[in-house]
Amino acid sequence: MDPKTLQLILFIEQMVALAAKSVVDLKGVLAGDKTADEALADADANYQAIIDGRS
């Protein structure tokens, strides 16, 4: 397999893994038992990480 094709496959694998992680995250948050304060604190931390370029 040529390196370019291998690189493409690895990249697609990364994207699929991220999409799958997103579903797992979503399920975890929606099915979890966080209080409103805990959920808001987690949301704030994620929003701030995006703003700060720490994703």
């Binding site: 991220l18 995250d25 979503l26 929606l30 808001l40 929003y47 990480a49 995006i50």
Partner: protein
């Protein structure tokens, strides 16, 4: 011209019923908090997808930067929305914050995604944002959008 909200009507109706069915305000607050949390996770994963695409050389730094600008707008609106939820603001007061959040999210989901030219990256990001849309609909329904 102002863009129409892109949240599917069926999702809004379903979620409206769920939110209106919540009889006590603290339950609505929790629904909104959890919805915001779910969206924030999706946004962060979308950000990571763009970052990985840049690192792999499949999108340009400009594409990643313009997508990140849109993400920051949603995240900033999300922080303001969270502050409103935390303060137990009424639906009427919260409405402006929800509108800003929805506008930013819809812009990200349309022009932001369209700015990513690599189809694999675009598909991954679209998939991630579609997952977050149900939670966005919960937020929209809280103020009757």
């Amino acid at each position: 011209m102002r863009q129409r909200k892109a949240v599917p009507l069926g999702v809004i109706l379903l979620v409206s019923l769920l939110v209106m069915g919540a009889s006590c305000p603290s339950s609505t607050t929790k629904n909104l908090a959890v919805a915001s949390d779910a969206v924030s996770h999706g946004l962060r994963n979308a950000d990571q997808a763009a970052n990985q695409a840049l690192a792999s050389g499949v999108i340009t730094a400009d594409e990643q930067a313009q997508f990140h600008v849109q993400l920051v707008k949603v995240a900033t609106a999300g922080l303001a929305l969270d502050a409103g939820i935390r303060a137990n603001e009424s639906a009427a007061t919260l409405s402006a914050k929800v509108n800003s959040f929805l506008d930013a999210f819809n812009a990200l989901n349309t022009s932001g995604v369209a700015g990513i030219k690599n189809p694999n990256t675009q598909l991954a990001i679209s998939t991630i944002l579609t997952g977050a849309e149900t939670s966005v609909a919960i937020i929209a329904a809280a103020v009757g959008k």
